[in-house]
Amino acid sequence: MKAFRTLGLVLLAAVMTLTAMAQSAGELRFCLRSEPRTFDPLLVSDEASDTVRYLTGGVLVRINRQTQTLEPELASSWKVSKDSRSISFALRDRIFYSDGSPFTADDVAATVKRMMAPETHSPMADAFGAGGEKTDIKVLSPTRVTITFAAPIAGLDRLFDEVAIVSSRSPRKEMAALGPYYVADHKAGSYVYLRRNPNYWKKDSSGQAMPYIEAIRLDIQANRDIELLRMQRGEIHLINSLDAEYFDRLKSINPSLVYDAGPSLDSEQMWFNQVPNAPVAAYKLKWFRSSNFRHAVSMAINRADLARIVFGSHAQPAIGPVSPANKFWFNRKLRPTQYDTGVALRQLQQDGFRLNGGVLRDREGHAVEFSVITNAGNKYRERMATMIQQDLGKIGIRLNIVTLDFPSLIERIAEKFNYEAALLGTVNAGLDPNEQMNMWLSSGENHQWNPRQKSPETTWEAEIDRAMKAQSQLSNPMKRKVYFDRVQEIVVREAPFIYLVNRNALSAISTSIRGAAPVAMRPQAYWNIERMSLTDGKKVH
């Protein structure tokens, strides 16, 4: 799962500040939680670099973070071929980079070519499929370009949301920006300073050039307590993503600063090890491989309590693999798994389990006891595990909680399969099911409960495989969704992943910002930066 790459990673916060000085009244401040590793938009793999890319990169199309639909940007229109292998863009005319160099179809060609070249090692190349050299790029005119990939790619157009076009002519290369801002200054370990791109092409309905805010100062600050303190003091304007505890803390100081945008795309889940030759007692594997057992455990967990107590109600009980925040792909027919220990016990009895004197035993008389591993130092997961421990205790299951450092945790779940159950989360940056291919296909590396199967071991996994492949070969989203809805149903029924909660997207935004509208999708708080403005006040709030 793409999730694991970013798991445990600190999300980037972005906050903007108004300084006291008159000439920089238009300066916004927020914090990056680490030094950006690169300013090359094709090499971005960390949150800090991603923030800079989002604020400075010009893209052909953009997913509107609010509506989650794809909108034209530098391309005024585009068309994906029937076979989903190629895409043609019609580009806007008379557009210039921040340094004045003109934007043409050649830039698009050069950018895609470099992205697909294996020697570039662009993290984005994977999504566009293998066989990078076979990518065929035809520049038909300065404003028309067609790109043909080696194999069909479902949801091809949406992938260009991340492809910031780099100038092929400008001597400043990637430092010449097409987006609303450009990097004007950078002091390693201290800050990144962005200035408004004077050549930015967009104008609002009244004809005023965008963006409205003159400059953005991104302070590099790893410590969240300090970030919070600076927010309280009005030194920064926003925190892009807050966790529940910090949210409540800030709220108790100034309720007008915090913003809960409802469930995010991310989820927290628990799963059982189903790897057939895993170094786990055979009788336990038998439990874990039984969908009755898994589903019963799922029903015995009080998700509403998890959301309410662990996350202070800043989370929603998860329904299935897709968060309701994913407007299009979420299967609305799914109902939340009911919390019912009675039904759970009955389901367990179908498998021969008996509850006797407070201890659940399987058919052979083994007391049901297993361990769940989670990453040490994550308060929320530790607390969820402790609550699940008590929930499962009610149906006679003894749960041992083991917190491990991240590397040994990953080693256990991905290499040695030496674990019984795990509790982790998935971070979803995108919306499209194709981004989760590796998780759902039984052959997938991130098919966590039983990865890299030669052929699907269960009928339901075989069915998921078929549905995922079928949807990936279609271009009509509605038809694809029929298949992916089916996948969601199966996952909820079979409970290979027991989805627990979807955390809410929480952010903090200064009252001196106008036009902010935090959403569930990243970047939650400043996705509409070009429409945001600062009031004249010298103080932030």
């Binding site: 307590d225 505890e245 803390r249 108790s252 309590d305 309410r308 107590i309 662990v310 006891e369 297993f370 361990s371 591993i373 040490a376 130092g377 530790e382 607390r383 595990a385 402790t386 609550m387 421990q389 008590q390 041992n400 909680i401 083991v402 917190t403 491990l404 450092d405 040994s408 080693e411 256990r412 030496n418 674990y419 019984e420």
Partner: protein, 268 residues
């Protein structure tokens, strides 16, 4: 002085008695989650309020005290005994032995312990009961905590070994055993008890740190480590000052211990 020492004894005995009677005194178990009353302020039902998961803080404090204050001194005693044996032996034998041990201790102290402990944890079986995890944790602390004190002990023993009074004892024909037992060990006691007193709070805190690495006392068992960890954020403390009670109690107990043991040295 006398009065203070009496007071210290009373405090220690009271704490010991309270934690021994934890099951009688606390209205609820340390693990029961009152999910409708999370992070509650002190009340008649929950004298110290409840924690984030709605567990009775008073019960957790009593049981945590039983675990940490029961085991940290045991671990400290183990570490001090090891230090006395290893450091004392090397210091007494002197010469090559002492140099060898100094090198060994330096190496031992240089090892990235946190890292090694994390690896050790990763190798432990997953299904250990919380109680076993507690014993393993304090056992490890005890087994690994000797090196620093051993260095101090070795230096003191070497000095004592060369002292006039040991020479005098030898000159009257005292056996080596008696010299160790009657002349060196009693004079080491103040050093050992000082080391012991340093180790007790160090171990309590180490357990808290280990907890963050996934070692340490497993849920749902409480320990001082987990209680102290709740104090990470200053913010929570100002809004809920009763959370400071565990820290206050730790300080009280350590100070009492110091008073009691300190007095014993001079009057023994």
């Amino acid at each position: 002085m006398k009065l203070l020492r009496k007071l210290a004894w009373i405090i220690l005995l009271t704490v010991a008695a309270l934690s021994a009677m934890a099951s009688v005194l606390s209205t609820s178990g340390y693990a029961t989650q009152f999910r409708e009353e999370t992070s509650a302020a002190p009340s008649r039902q929950h004298w110290l309020g409840t924690d984030e998961l709605g567990r009775d803080r008073f019960a957790r404090l009593l049981y945590g005290t039983r675990i940490s204050l029961g085991l940290a001194p045991v671990a400290a005693l183990l570490a001090t005994a090891l230090a006395a044996a290893i450091g004392g032996g090397a210091g007494y034998l002197g010469g090559r032995w002492q140099r060898g041990m100094t090198v060994m201790i330096d190496l031992f102290l240089c090892l990235p312990w946190l890292f090694l402990l994390v690896i050790a944890r990763a190798m432990l079986p997953l299904n250990v009961s919380p109680m076993v995890s507690v014993l393993v944790t304090f056992g490890l602390l005890g087994a690994l905590g000797w090196a620093g004190p051993a260095r101090v002990v070795a230096a003191s023993v070497a000095a004592l070994r060369d002292s006039e009074c040991v020479l005098q004892a030898r000159a009257v024909g005292t056996t080596e055993w008696r010299i160790l037992l009657r002349h060196i060990f009693p004079r080491l006691l103040p050093i050992l008890s000082a080391q012991f007193l340093i180790l007790v709070p160090v171990f309590v805190l180490s357990e808290a740190n280990l907890g963050m690495l996934g070692l340490g006392v497993a849920e749902p068992l409480p320990s001082w480590g987990s209680l102290l960890r709740e104090m990470e954020s200053l913010y929570g403390l100002t809004s809920a000052p009763w959370r400071l009670v565990p820290l206050g109690l730790l300080m009280l107990v350590v100070n009492s211990l110091q008073l009691v043991m300190g007095d014993e040295e001079t009057s023994a």
